[in-house]
């Protein structure tokens, strides 16, 4: 660009004396114009005050030297690469600009290397929130010093204390607890390693050495789709978002991509220009629905009926993929009519059971000649849950539809049972139940089945229901029936939470050096200690007791030999806002919180958990530390690096917990606390060496190797298959990713496909293409679950059950929905000034216009939203695209944003579905057993009803 005119050489007009006089003169003229008087001619004015004349402001303006004003603003001192640790799945790499020693702004680094040139550009990744994280670095909310509470929890009254005082107080308490054997009363809550595994590990490593409790999060936040471990035997595995573009037909089902997956939305949006049909399934005409080719709006909570109706169409019209069903699903397997259990090799004489490890865990089917055949790859035929030495490829052609006797036992195939179940979902019923048209839902089912590559993007909108497992299984059935699974552009991708970490091995070794982990299902832990056993229906209470008794689910503190169970006493919270985000919020505040003698929050900002803590430790912001970032939305790893030093007295998470370990070691040594035998694991808890253990590299044995966060990040990269594959010389180091994000070299064994050059990651290829047994009881995608509890409840197959309605629908006629919004990532940014200015500055509830009118509520009115659990006061917003009967309150507003310090979770009671407390098979649990974030009860919240009234409505 040229420097343009000659006028730059002219003297600066503003500095001339004459100019000052003119300014005064013109003030008067300016006043007149403010009143809206117009018509002063430019030429007249110029002549009048003796300003230099502008002959033609279009293309010939002579006085342009002032333009340097803005050029001087486009200036900075340095740029560092970082990202944000907020559990949003974005994992977006940003350039952080520093000017005059302060973080000035950020802009996407936009340098993810492209791996498939036929797909839309992977850059830039980012969103509105990431674009103003700088606010938090310098904000009023920023915690800058160690603080100790002086008022009640939540009051916001603090005294500033020194680091030494803070660490000493915490260390003394911790040593007391461990010495008293209450190490399992010490909890560490920190979600989502993938968003910053070093920070995750910082506290979790200390907790692990202390014998404390590590909390699950993916299940607790109801992000885990239980249908996936139930049917596919695996936590969740998703295609990276780039794969959406490979689809011919995408159904966005309760996944509000355009709001909650902003960095990924382009793959959905641009697919529309690539011949892909995009269908939206949302109860409201959502922000994603507006950019679809067809939108259908089932009534809230009726999605399983819709899915099963579509399944019925696919089955009735013969549009299913028969070969896929025979080989890859349990449809040909036989079940006993008498017990409801699978017919197994152990039940029949026709198959010799001696060749199998456990004949009772080998299911059978009939081939086309009517001969009984063992299901290859069934659990009783495998070494373990995952066994790639076996194949499910069939050397025979099984019958799908079986209803007969076998050796005197009446049996039916799963397919036969499924057909019977699906017969209930007639077009008339589906319309009646869901409101989706009879023709429309059948046509969409046909289109989906006939597409070459069909995909369902599945989200939280349908995962927060009590019967989420049934809903998941019903929708999963659609991709199984059609064989839309295990290939590019297909599958059911459930994106909620950055739940999976690619570099799992290195992270695990860093986080849990002892290998002995007290993991706990947080839903159960929270609700148990918040009093659910005194508040839930008897059946739920009984099932919780049975699950605990049988050891299906763990709970801490453990029951002691004398039958008592201590209360939890101590909680560390970092990288999360447990107290604000807890469902059953009132019970948590009133019953659980008082049990805790010490709550320590480690945070860069004063969130609700910090506000309700006893000690708050100031943590480095995301632009002041080293760490890693990854997500299942893409297959890259990139770093946090410090743009500036931690502000005030803040320190990185790694340093904070390292210093705490040091202090604990000091105190323990001073007191002469000896090693303590762990009551559950074969190990001693040795507080006198806890700091040395903290900084030791347990794999190499090197002492003091892990002093800082960068070394910890490097440890993770070095010890993970994804970044340092065993069969190659390729290796990704921290320096590499500081330079540019790197695509992973390989996928470890917690992924179900390989990472292939030039292709987006798509899951399940190990099973669908390589024909390894699925990690289920049957070695197949398993829609029939013969667990006693499932049989008792009539849930052996996917079925539709209505929402449980925690409240009476007459008293509380409105459904209460708390979706994820575009202005925050959970509670982060909820209190951000930039974001609040683009909303209404306070919590709002979206109301259908008729619902509002009926209650005399206008847009902007203050309203009370209430039920038998609690009430909140918020502002009403009229939302014509919302269905009648739903109060939609985008979630995660902080407690301190509501007048009575209740919050969006105050209306949600403690409830959970007992089928998610099981182990399966009952005796051994290979298919389903408690594992944090993999299998455990989900913290559901959508079956809640409310009523709304205008505050001061009578005035």
């Amino acid at each position: 660009m040229s420097e343009s005119t000659d006028s730059r050489d002219e003297p600066n007009r503003a500095q001339s004396d004459a100019d000052v006089a003119r300014r005064d003169f013109l003030k008067g003229a300016g006043m007149a114009t403010v009143l809206g008087v117009t018509g002063l001619g430019a030429a007249d004015d110029g002549a009048m005050d003796g300003l230099k004349v502008v002959d033609d402001p279009i293309g010939n303006y002579p006085y342009r030297e002032w333009e340097d004003l803005y050029r001087e603003q486009w200036d900075w001192d340095s740029i560092s690469r970082s990202t944000h640790s907020v559990n949003c799945t974005g994992s977006c790499s940003w350039d952080v600009y520093v000017k005059n020693g302060q973080v000035w702004r950020e802009e996407q680094a936009a340098d993810y290397p492209e791996f498939d040139e036929d797909l839309p550009d992977p850059n830039p990744r980012g969103c509105n929130k990431g674009a103003c994280y700088t606010d938090y670095v310098n904000a009023d909310q920023r915690v800058l010093h160690p603080l100790k509470r002086t008022g009640e929890r939540g009051e916001g009254k603090w005294k500033q204390i020194s680091w030494d005082e803070a660490l000493t107080e915490i260390a003394e308490h911790v040593v007391d607890e461990v010495e008293a054997g209450r190490y399992d009363a010490i909890s560490g809550f920190t979600p989502i390693p993938a968003m910053s595994p070093v920070s995750f590990a910082s506290g979790s490593r200390l907790i692990n050495l202390l014998g404390g409790v590590s909390h699950s999060f993916y299940d607790w936040y109801s992000d885990l789709p239980p249908g996936q471990p139930i049917t596919w035997g695996h936590q969740t595995d998703n295609a990276e978002s780039a794969d959406w573009y490979n689809s011919d037909y995408i159904i966005a089902w309760g996944s509000n991509i355009n709001v909650t997956r902003i960095p990924d939305a382009k793959y959905f949006l641009e697919a529309g220009y690539n011949g892909t049909k995009r269908v939206g399934v949302f109860s409201d005409y959502s922000q994603t629905a507006i950019h679809t080719d067809e939108w259908i709006g089932p009534d809230p909570g009726t999605d399983p009926a819709l899915a099963l109706g579509m399944a019925r169409t696919i089955v009735d019209e013969g549009l299913y993929d028969e070969a896929h069903l025979k080989e890859q699903s349990d449809m040909p397997l036989l079940t006993r009519e008498d017990t409801g259990k699978f017919l197994t090799v152990a039940d029949v004489d026709a198959i010799d059971g001696s060749g199998f490890e456990e004949p009772a865990k080998v299911q059978v089917m009939l081939d086309d000649a009517g001969t009984l055949r063992a299901a290859p790859g069934a659990l009783g035929d495998r070494e373990a849950k995952y066994d790639d030495s076996k194949s499910i490829e069939l050397p025979f052609d099984p019958q799908l539809d079986v209803d007969r006797e076998v050796e005197g036992i009446p049996v039916r195939s799963v397919w036969n049972r499924l057909n019977e179940e699906l017969a209930n979902y007639t077009p008339e019923y589906v319309y009646e139940e869901t409101g989706v048209g009879e023709e429309t839902h059948q046509r969409i089912a046909r289109e989906f089945a006939k597409a070459d590559r069909g995909k369902i993007i599945h989200g939280k909108g349908i995962n927060d229901w009590y019967h989420n497992d049934l809903g998941n299984r019903a929708i999963q059935l659609l991709v199984t029936l059609t064989g839309h699974i295990g290939r590019q552009g297909t599958g059911l991708d459930h994106y909620v939470g950055q739940e999976k970490i690619w570099t799992v091995h290195g992270w695990k070794k860093l986080t849990f050096p002892t290998g002995k982990v007290r993991g706990v299902p947080t839903t159960l832990w929270t609700y148990y200690h918040a009093g659910i056993m005194d508040n839930a229906d008897q059946e739920t209470v009984d099932r919780i007791e049975e699950s605990l008794e049988k050891g299906w689910m763990p709970l801490y503190p453990e029951e002691r030999d004398d039958g008592t169970r201590p209360d939890p006493s101590t909680m560390f919270v970092w990288r999360g806002n447990y107290f604000n985000q807890a469902k059953g919020n009132i019970a948590v505040e009133e019953t659980l919180w008082p049990k805790l003698d010490l709550v320590v929050d480690i945070n860069f900002r004063m969130d609700s958990t910090a506000l309700y803590s006893d000690i708050v430790l100031p943590s480095a912001s995301h632009y002041e530390k080293h760490d890693l970032s990854m997500t299942d939305m893409h297959s890259y790893v990139h770093p946090f690096t410090p743009a500036v030093e931690p502000l005030g007295e803040s320190k990185t998470d790694w340093e904070i917990f390292r210093l705490l370990a040091k202090k604990i070691q000091e105190v323990a040594t001073e007191r002469g606390v000896g090693p303590i035998q762990d009551r559950k694991f074969d190990r001693e808890i040795d507080l006198q060496s806890i700091y040395d253990d903290y900084v030791r590299d347990w794999l190499s044995g090197e002492e003091g190797a892990l002093e800082d966060d960068r070394a910890a990040a490097e440890f993770i990269l070095e010890h993970s298959e994804e970044s340092n594959p065993s069969d190659s010389d390729e290796q990704i180091t921290f320096a590499d990713i500081e330079d540019q994000p790197q695509r992973f070299e390989a996928a470890g064994d917690h992924w179900t496909s390989d990472i292939e050059d030039g292709e987006a990651y798509t899951p399940w290829k190990d099973f669908v293409q390589d024909k390894e047994p699925w990690p289920t009881l049957t070695g197949r995608q398993q829609y029939y679950i013969d667990h006693d509890w499932f049989l008792d409840l009539g849930e052996e197959l996917p079925t539709h059950k209505s929402a449980v309605d925690e409240q009476d629908s007459t008293d509380y006629p409105l459904r209460y929905n708390t979706p994820h919004g575009r202005w925050s990532i959970h509670s982060t940014w909820r209190d951000n000034t930039h974001m609040l200015r683009l909303q209404r500055g306070e919590p709002v509830v979206y109301l259908n216009p008729d619902d509002a009118e009926r209650r005399g509520i206008d847009d902007g009115d203050t309203v009370k939203v209430y039920n038998d659990v609690g009430e909140i006061e918020v502002s009403a917003k009229i939302y014509p695209s919302g269905e009648e009967g739903t109060a939609r309150h985008y979630f995660a507003w902080e407690k301190f944003q509501y007048p009575d310090r209740n919050n969006f979770n105050s209306l949600v009671p403690m409830y959970m579905k007992p089928t998610q407390l099981v182990q399966y098979p009952e005796d051994s649990g290979e298919h389903l057993h408690f594992f944090p974030n993999f299998w455990g009860p989900t913290g559901v919240n959508s079956d809640v009803r409310v009523e709304i009234e205008k505050v001061g409505g009578d005035e």
Partner: protein, 362 residues
């Protein structure tokens, strides 16, 4: 290139004539925004704000804003506020109004410190009373009745018009259009804050800074497109660079090899907003599609959800042809064919959307 596309290709010489750049302007910067990719996330608004309007007196300004349509927008009622020209002769301005402070909404400050560190038990709220409007007050509201309601997002910056009525309105001649690229600027030294420009702009994209006592506006990030940063790199505007779905094309209208020229001139699918204001904007929009309506039995109908007359109100009569062209080309691709237009609308390489170094003299 398809045969359809060839039909649009009238030859470069004639096109140059047809382009109608402002007299005395060598080249004209332009932007196309694809409304079918706008998710209303306002990353653009934040990108602009953190870069240019964080200073005092600027807090309320969004040089780039995104509003939900239909709706009153930002500032409230701007479409009814006059300005522009009486006719396409561009010789007589249409008088306009200066929006009130309330129409923009205050840039709220909050009581974070009081609540978090000083023991205040009131909720976090904007200081100084109940807000009644803001730059995104009508987010997601739109019009119509469920299930056939409709809304979409409209990002707006200064249109850097070919016939800028703001320039004409200024009695001090403190606004001008740059010769080399047609960017419209307010000379921050010459301006005395009379606000004739605010009044005269029909899009209400000039903002008065009551601290500095000058009017300010979108500068099309000229320091970025000039490559004037420490790294010397030419970059597109921040609103475009940071847009997650990359819905903007930035370049020169008269760059006949560029996507903007093709979308605007060749295919006629990118249209100016409110052409009847007669300022000849240089920001163009790919008009929005929406899923069809439903009947009372929940069946999908073949009926437009967004009333075509509403789109015509925004983008003029040409919107019908534009939508038809896009639809036709989409169907071509659905049938397995290829389409230059669809290729342009897809962002396989971001670089293709930004052509800023094509002219030696710009």
């Amino acid at each position: 290139m398809s045969s359809d596309a060839n039909a649009y290709d009238a030859g470069s010489g004639e096109d140059q004539q047809r382009l109608d750049l402002a007299d005395g302007i060598d080249h004209q910067v332009a932007m196309v925004m694809d409304l079918n990719q706008c998710v209303g996330c306002q990353t653009c608004s934040i990108a602009c704000k953190t870069l240019w309007t964080s200073g005092s007196g600027q807090e309320y300004m969004y040089w780039n804003n995104v509003e939900t349509k239909p709706g009153e927008g930002y500032p409230r009622g701007w479409e009814e506020s006059g300005g522009g020209w009486k006719s396409d002769a561009n010789d007589e301005r249409e008088p306009g109004e200066i929006p009130s402070k309330e129409d923009y909404g205050d840039a709220w400050e909050f009581n974070h410190s009081e609540i978090m560190y000083e023991g205040d038990d009131t909720p976090l709220r904007p200081k100084g009373g109940d807000p009644e409007y803001g730059p995104n007050w009508e987010e997601d509201q739109g019009a119509g009745e469920y299930p056939n309601s409709y809304y979409f997002y409209l990002p707006r910056i200064c249109n850097h018009c070919t016939h800028p009525s703001c320039v004409e309105a200024c009695p001090r001649s403190a606004l001008y259009k740059r010769e080399e690229d047609g960017i419209v600027l307010v000379d921050q030294e010459r301006c005395r804050g009379y606000r004739y420009c605010v009044e005269g702009c029909p899009y209400k994209k000039v903002y008065y800074n009551e601290v500095k006592k000058t009017s300010e506006k979108c500068i099309f990030c000229y320091p970025r497109i000039e490559g004037e940063g420490p790294d010397g790199e030419v970059k597109p505007t921040a609103c475009a660079s940071e847009c997650p779905p990359q819905l903007r094309y930035v370049g020169f209208l008269d760059d006949q090899q560029g996507p903007i020229y093709k979308l605007v001139e060749r295919y006629g699918v990118a249209l100016p907003l409110h052409p009847e204001y007669q300022t000849q904007p240089n920001v163009y929009y790919i008009p929005p599609f929406a899923p069809p309506q439903q009947d009372t039995e929940g069946e999908t109908l073949e009926v437009d959800r967004i009333p075509p007359e509403y789109l015509e109100e925004l983008f003029g009569e040409e919107v019908h042809d534009a939508l038809e062209t896009i639809q036709r080309e989409r169907e071509k691709v659905e049938r397995g064919g290829s389409s230059e237009l669809m290729d342009i609308l897809t962002t396989v390489n971001n670089e293709d959307q930004y052509r800023l170094e094509v002219f030696d003299d710009a």
